[in-house]
Amino acid sequence: MTQRCECFFPVEGGRFEDAGKVSVEVKKMLKKIGIPDDARRRAAIATYESEVNIISYAIRGEVHLQVTRDHILIDIQDAGPGISNIEQAMEQGYSTANDRIREMGFGAGMGLFNIKNCSDTFEISSEEDKGTHLKILINR
């Protein structure tokens, strides 16, 4: 039987030192259940970018990883300021990052663009002063 799994990982806003912890866990888990290298790598990159976004901009968020027979679904919901102009935020090079984010080596304005690039299906919705919701689907 094809291995499946479902996990939740909380992410706290502002904790830059934690950036990447969830993604490394996600990657390990996907390796354990035998997801091929390319899909696993794309899932980890998309998770990493989302994690950094929560840490950089939101109060808190949650990564929900679900592996089904055919797909890896990464559902990310945060409580935060939301994105007022999604189209602009999706553009390569567009960023609202502050100095703290940039010092860590982030804020190049590649995040959402890169997440979309790693996904087979990508959905984003956001409500100002509420938060942002990403649905990343990757074929196994």
């Binding site: 030192e17 990447g20 490394v24 080596g105 804020g107």
Partner: protein
């Protein structure tokens, strides 16, 4: 080139992963912007960076970098090296600057992960 040859060429110190020196490296990506590493690095490539925080190790693990080469003589803090050991990512440190490091590797057959960025001009600030 193997990691051992890279270390010899750049007079680099091997800080983590002394038992992985036979790994063959064909491509590299030089950046201090980890966002760009996430976007452009290829599996198996060596990451060349001047950053030393633990993020470089997590990123390397996520994009499947074969190793991290820290430039400008920097030595990452203990927490970065401990994480590198835990995630099994070799870390080398060279005193050469990033330009020299990249040039010397290129002259020895290592190529970039991508040659040129494809896509809209918006990535290039006018």
């Amino acid at each position: 080139m193997t990691l051992r040859e890279i270390a010899d060429l750049l007079d680099a110190r091997i800080l983590v992963g002394g038992d992985h020196l036979d790994i063959e490296v064909k491509t590299a990506f030089s950046a201090d912007l980890m966002s760009d590493v996430l976007a452009f690095a290829k599996p198996g490539s060596i990451m060349i960076t001047g950053l030393t925080n633990p993020q470089i190790v997590r990123i390397a693990s996520i994009v499947d970098n074969s190793a991290i080469l820290v430039v400008r003589g920097k030595i990452p803090p203990e927490e970065t090296l401990t994480l590198a050991e835990e995630l099994d990512i070799p870390v080398l440190s060279t005193r050469y600057i990033m330009f020299e490091t990249s040039g010397r590797l290129y002259a020895n057959g290592i190529v970039g992960c991508v040659r040129k960025i494809q896509g809209p001009e918006s990535v290039i600030p006018l």
